[in-house]
Symmetry: C2
Amino acid sequence: MDRLFQAFADSTRRDIVRRVTAREYSVSGLAALYAMSFAAVQKHVAVLERASLVTKEKRGREQIVRGNHEGLEKARRLLDEYEHIWRQRAARMADILAEG
Amino acid sequence: MDRLFQAFADSTRRDIVRRVTAREYSVSGLAALYAMSFAAVQKHVAVLERASLVTKEKRGREQIVRGNHEGLEKARRLLDEYEHIWRQRAARMADILAEG
DNA sequence: CTAACGTACAACCAAATGGTTGTAGATAAG
DNA sequence: CTTATCTACAACCATTTGGTTGTACGTTAG
């Protein structure tokens, strides 16, 4: 979870996730989009890969990056859980108000 | 957004969010729950506050911490957006398969 | 074959992070 | 009043993070 949310905590990485979710990119294809070195983008992709938000697949001399639904789902489930706790509390509050 | 996801990227902070979403705690009440100094917990709460995941309210000499739905909602909306992009891509893929 | 391209990885650097201890100020309790 | 409690904040430290440059290696193009 730490790695997962850490991965989202950077605007460049969120942008990469957004792009590779819509269609595939090579690492250099991604690197061309940002005002930073290839190596920096490479590191961002590695962070996303470790967080299961992205997968890499070698194709010839290129490395193809694609969105990975797994990480996204995991994050959503956690937020849903918190949302659930929130609604339970809201319901309890409503009960208390109804009693009083 | 950086601050928001950064705030989630620590298990202690996620636990604090979980707890204060269910009911209110003082800062020292929270500090008692973890094997770290009061100051450390205080910092975690500050991080959560800056991320709009928590609010603090002074009550006597205590500072009461409560969950703040705002940040949670914001994070959910972003993940929902990504989910939407994912489904669009899935739909496009299905179309292509249908054509071919 | 040779040159260019795409990638991997190491070394380095400044800044941020997560923790500590210590000091000081308000407020509550005895 | 005095003491204990709760909080704030500064200073410090080790580690991680986000970036850089440089080097090396496999793959494709000419």
